[in-house]
Symmetry: C2
């Protein structure tokens, strides 16, 4: 470890709070056609990836996000075979999705190939399933990809995007959700990362509103810890055309693959909406 360290602080205007890390050096940097990607080495969190100055992931804590973006939805759907990931260029969500042996194909469509190239280099563990014959990696516009997706062809769409500003803005509105609705089978599930359940409930409400306009009728927001994101507490929101969010508890308990955070009981706990969240969302 270098003896010279500095503190990198990121101030989040919408939450009025900041998170920072003790870093030893910048490892890499690339300006893609879409955004600036930087990799830092930290003293305690492994490598950090920042996009346009915003923390995307750390070696240490990304498992929380990737496991919760995938396993709750995949254990909720009765038999997910066809999964599409919009965004997710670091490939961590793809890896978790492919842990489910029933999945026959998983397409990851991220607009920025450089995110994946940087992940391969600095977070190789997240990319270890990229060579899986069931995996397809596309570097293209996720909005267009979903718009062109055959109707009733997808079991689960996971929107693993950056914040709803910049390149990801088009992934949080009615038009995009309509494409997802059309592409999903009747028992399909849409999953969207949905920001902080403590501070950004208005955003979650608005997102659900847009999903509702697109035809989705049932929603569930699952909170989980995510230290590197604003407030350290994050969420994903699941939406369905109908039906609830009971999951295949026995299958989740008997899962043959390892997880670091996800368990069936933690999944069940995440389905219990904290009363202050339920009140804010009008549940």
């Amino acid at each position: 470890m270098n003896t010279q360290t500095t503190w990198h602080h990121e101030n989040f205007e919408p939450t009025g709070s900041s998170i920072g890390y003790r870093i030893t050096r910048k490892l890499d940097e690339v300006q893609s056609p879409f955004q600036k990607i930087e990799i830092f080495e930290s003293t305690d969190w492994g490598n950090l990836m920042l996009i346009d100055g915003a923390m995307m992931l750390t070696t240490k804590d990304n498992f929380l996000y990737h496991e919760m973006m995938s396993h709750p939805a995949l254990f909720t759907h009765a038999a997910p075979k066809r999964v599409v990931i919009i965004g997710g260029g670091d490939c961590g969500t793809l890896r978790e999705v492919l842990r489910h042996p029933g999945v026959e194909s998983a397409t990851q469509c991220d607009i920025d190939e450089q995110v994946t190239r940087m992940a391969e280099k600095w977070f190789p563990e997240l990319c270890e399933s990229n060579g899986d014959p069931r995996a397809e990696l596309l570097f293209d516009d996720g909005v267009a990809y979903m718009a062109n997706c055959p109707a009733d062809s997808v079991d689960i769409v996971i929107v693993d995007s950056t914040d709803p500003v910049g390149p990801a803005e088009g992934l949080f509105n009615k038009a995009f959700y309509e494409s997802c609705f059309k592409a999903l089978k009747d028992d399909g599930i849409l999953v969207q990362q949905s920001e902080s359940p403590l501070m950004l409930l208005d955003l979650i409400k608005e997102m659900r509103g847009e999903m509702g306009k697109a035809g989705f009728t049932t929603f569930k927001t699952l909170p989980f810890p995510q230290p590197c994101y604003p407030t350290g507490w994050w969420s994903c929101t699941l939406a369905r055309k109908g039906g609830g969010f009971d999951f295949r508890t026995a299958d989740a308990r008997a899962k043959a693959f390892p997880t670091l955070y996800y368990t069936a009981d933690i999944h069940a706990g995440a389905l219990s909406t904290p009363p202050f969240v339920a009140a804010a969302l009008g549940e």
Copy 2:
């Protein structure tokens, strides 16, 4: 809101990370015989209390900590009547404990009266049960208080302390836990705030080791979100002389008092130790 704001960053050396807030002004400050207490006003988190520069609580998110330090233990014990809180000078844990109608007396023993005075002034909602006839507020040394506690007299001891440095250092060792062990009845429960489950597992392991040397035989560490503490993910550890941590689920579901975060299902979820934590703790 003032138009002038500044960012206050707190760097945590043990976790290599920092948390900060956008603040408008300092509201108050007092140097007690034990520590320096400062109150800031923030743009999004209400008031902040810092002790010797370390964030203690915010108006916005303290409910997470206070609910999880109290309700899991109180719904685990079959019939808690006598509760002792060591530390806890902001009175938030006391308020939650007294929500349980079966509690006959709750003593809060914090060494620093100024913490409570500042809480009364700047976090009055946390102090709203201080006048409850079942409440006793002492300003004294918690180590001595537990050492002098009659044997087999207490159902639950909650150690609601600052970090294991400075005034609270004596609340994390075998000698103190022996006093707790003696004071607790056979079916009693010790609760200790136990820092970040992501980054400070060595500390949790060491703490459990000291509790074990004092005679406690069963342990459970419950994680919960706590945005204002390092990593935004925190924990409490429950210890018993024997027996497990199944709780009165039906009573928790039927509780007659409001909570903002705690639910029976969230409690059950917190009892499911994340696999990486279980591995580190040798569970």
